[in-house]
Amino acid sequence: MSWNAWVPLLVVMSSLLPGLIIFGLAEDKARLRIALNLFGALSKLVLVSWMIWGVYQGYHYETRLPLLPNLELVLRAGPLALLFVSLSTILWLVTTVYAIGYLEDSPHRSRFFGFFSLCVTATVGVALAGNLITFLLFYELLTLATYPLIVHRGTEEARQAGQTYLRYTISGGALLLIGTVWLYSLTGTLEFTPKGFLSNVGEQHYPALITIFALLIAGLGVKAALFPLHGWLPQAMIAPAPVSALLHAVAVVKAGAFGIIRVVYDVFGVEFSAALGVLAPLAWLAAFTIIYGSLRALFQDDLKRRLAYSTISQVSYIALGVAIAGPIATIGGVVHLVHQGLMKITLFFCAGNLAETLGIHKISEMNGVGRRMPWTMAAFTIGAFGMIGAPPIAGFISKWYLGLGALNTGQSWVILVLAGSSLLNAAYFLPILHRAWFMPPPESWPHEHPDKHKGEHKGEHRDKHYWGHKETAWALLLPPLVTAAMALAAGLLVTLPFSPLEWAKLISVREFYQP
């Protein structure tokens, strides 16, 4: 294999190998573990940047390894792949820093970081997959790698949450498997091709293709939390905050949404899908999920659960953008992949900070916290406004393009959905901001951490983490600020050549206009 063929494989290995080594480390080797983690994250960043620069120059990066007779494992750096992989890489780096701070003195960190690295390996594999079987392989690997993170705390609740998670994701995986094998038996190939590879399939197979589409979307929809397959997501909040951040911004949920994009654009092709008539149901389902998620979010008092339902709602924007089937809506959907990731991870980091530093888990406990933790709440505010869709934060850009795309294709009802969703977002985010900034703080913050430190070391813990005049540990403070700044930048600096928006435009052009 030429050097260029190795690069995608190395990108995947750059988190796999450190992860495997970390599994073997003793619990107290914190420095070595941190070094390995950061080394992996940084080397991945370097490799991905190299690939982006190379693709810009016109190089081709593709790894092909034999997997089955006539089917290969393919890792390819196309524009969509690079978009997702760079999002994953940057956010992994940031989340690693956050996790190191969050889990300081927690038990079983080697195990945690080992599986953490495996998660990122799987996500990067999903991003770089060049055909449906490679995608399936890494998609299932993602399920297996995230399970230990959910049950990490080892409590009975965590175990039950893990069982629920598995029930959904493994069933989804089974549906995806049937769809993939069936498609392979009909077409003999599974390579992702812009505009799809189904042009040669005869008309008598169209009902089969519709069923396959349904199977694939159902399988992907579990991870993407489309209604009614979203039930695992609020339960999975039992995991530590870095896991929720990773799951909801980068790995699991995005992998599902990314898969939906791949299936509609690179397996079926947008025009073919529209001709088959499968996009309209997808659009309705996405729209329903958007409203449903926002409505459920209104009634949650637990902060992480409210954010979870918000995620359910927001990720369906991506599916909606795909289902509207127009070039401008495509831009909106694809770019929201990045924007939602940045904004949501900021919100989860802030929620984690509140929980870790002050023991706040519920919104009703958040009165006046803006005074105590101003930087954290500033980042939270930026994220919240982005969710609502206020310019100039990134969320506004995606909603704008989605709305424009809907008008363009004559589906004006989507505008109602978008407007309604923005209103609901405002309805459940603005009260939080109001509480945090404008209400007087209580006498003391709830310091208990009911599911983390089991009794013995509580006193010592509190002394060690008494921040005094500091807001919180820098490892906990810096990541949300960085991601909030990125969300702001993604909105303000849209015209720069490497901004997510320009990238999304490139992807849309390839899908719709190039022969």
Partner: protein, 493 residues
């Protein structure tokens, strides 16, 4: 030098070395562990030699003592037998390593000679080319397996072994009667010769031939523990010592299935091609998958769960009958792959269960106390093996499942697709039931015994092997397709 290495009689070595080892272990009990381990290693080397030989010369035929068939015994090796021999060698070696530290000296002196006999029987079975020699090796295999099952002398082990013995003897006798009828009809016991005769005679096959088919199939199905003839498996596999359960589930039940596969697709092929009996076997396979998985889910003891999982996995193997039109087809490849992956994964599971038993003194699933932290290698071994059993990527089990699904969809057998997917989901349910409990704390913590490194690593390496198989499909399948017996046989005597 290289040529000399290839030309050694590896097939003969594969049978003689373990027999010699068995006698050595019996006569010199004090060094039985070392002797057993060395013999096991030499089997691995011999299989490598044989593999090389096959790659150079194609399928291999050797007349023992220079006396050809039908009076003499011939040894034949082709792709399928090579794969079974390799699996036996690798899994056997891992089990030998495990057993060096697992057994206390009193049991060890009884374990090693019988284990070596069992290995000899397995190797001879995979190298046999006539149906009577298969009978002899089946009997040797069955008796050794029963003796090993009864090794610990506990009540459950003895009863399980007794039931196993009765079942296996019944099966062997049915098989022998079938052999008698076939010999009477065709005048030979050599498989290649019989296949040719059957081809000619099949349009007017007499009652004796059909009876032979029925008897041999029934006997082999009883030995392979396919539903509803699986009743002897859970008590035997569940109460035997861990390495014995591993070799029983991974190797012994596969041997009789191998024979069934051979006979069905070479000897009886003109008779059964396209007949309803294939559907019947497929139906039994489906029932095995569902019944075995549901029963596994209900178990509270780990070893019984794993034993019922074996019952379910054997069901998958029986799906080859409705799906494979011939050898070399997709379904054939899929089943061969499943056999190998299951052997590695199931043995890894049983060895992990043995570790857990050693560690906590019990194997109750709900009381697995934070094993993932205290015995990480074992937990990892169980989890990785479980991934292969569930058929999730990347693993050998996934490749096998993919191939079978492909074959089923191409032939429009949606019922089989549904059963396979359901089987996978149920497998995920019972495997993750165990894994979930390895994370949590048990209500009562037990005093932990230490588990030796060789025991933990042998389990883990087998499980890693099952995963690596997920990436090796091309070399393995090309080995499988080294020419088969009927194609290269001469007319015979």
């Amino acid at each position: 030098m290289q040529n000399a290495f290839i030309e050694l009689p590896w097939a003969v070595a594969l049978i003689l070395l373990p027999l010699a080892g068995a006698m050595g272990c019996f006569l010199f009990p004090r060094i039985s562990r070392t002797l057993g381990l060395m013999t096991s290693f030499s089997i691995v080397v011999s299989v490598v030699g044989l593999g090389w030989q096959l790659l150079e010369h194609g399928s291999y035929r050797h007349a023992v003592g220079g006396w050809g068939a039908p009076l003499g015994i011939e040894l034949v090796a082709d792709g399928l037998s090579l794969l079974m021999l390799t699996t036996t060698a690798i899994v056997g070696f891992a089990i030998s390593v495990y057993s060096t530290t697992y057994f206390k000296p009193a049991l060890a002196v009884r374990f090693w000679p019988i284990w070596m006999c069992l290995l000899a029987a397995l190797n001879a079975l995979f190298l046999s080319a006539d149906i009577f020699n298969l009978y002899v090796t089946l009997e040797l295999l069955g008796l050794s397996a029963v003796a090993l099952t009864a090794l610990t002398g506990s009540k459950e082990a003895l009863s399980g072994a007794m039931r196993y013995l009765l079942a296996t003897l019944l099966a062997s006798l049915a098989y022998l009667l079938g052999v008698a009828l076939l010999y009477h009809s065709f005048g030979s016991v050599d498989i290649a010769v019989l296949a040719q005769q059957m081809q000619a005679a099949s349009p007017y096959a007499s009652g004796a031939i059909w009876a032979a088919l029925g008897l041999m199939a029934a006997g082999l199905m009883l030995k392979s523990a396919v539903f509803p003839l699986h009743f002897w498996l859970p008590p035997a596999h569940g109460s035997a010592p861990a390495p014995v359960s591993a070799l029983l589930s991974a190797l012994v039940v596969k041997a009789s299935f191998y024979i069934l596969l051979r006979l069905w697709f070479t000897l009886f092929e003109p008779l059964v091609n396209g007949e309803a009996i294939n559907t019947l076997l497929g139906l039994l396979g489906c029932a095995a998958i569902l019944w075995g998985s549901v029963q596994a889910l209900r178990q509270t003891r780990l070893k019984l769960l794993i034993a019922y999982s074996t019952v379910a996995q054997i069901g998958y193997l029986f799906l080859v009958f409705p799906l494979a039109a011939s050898m070399g087809s997709i379904a054939w490849n899929g089943v061969a792959y499943l056999i190998i992956s299951h052997a590695l994964a199931k043995s890894a599971m049983f060895l992990s269960a043995g570790n857990l038993l050693c560690f906590g003194g019990h194997d109750r699933i709900a009381d697995l106390d934070r094993v993932v932290q205290r015995l990480p290698l074992t937990a990892a071994a169980f989890a990785l093996a479980g991934v292969s059993i569930m058929g999730l990527p990347p693993s050998g089990g996934f490749i096998g499942k993919w191939l079978l699904l492909e074959a089923a969809i191409i032939q429009g057998r949606w019922d089989l697709v549904a059963v396979m997917i359901l089987g996978g989901l149920l497998a995920a349910a019972y495997i993750f039931k165990v894994i979930g409990h390895t994370f949590t704390q048990a209500p009562v913590t037990h005093e932990a015994q230490s588990v030796s490194a060789s025991m933990q690593w042998s389990a883990l390496l087998l499980a890693i092997g099952a995963m690596l198989l997920g990436f090796l499909s091309l070399p393995v399948l090309s080995l499988l397709n080294i020419s088969d017996i009927t194609a290269t046989s001469g007319v015979g005597l």
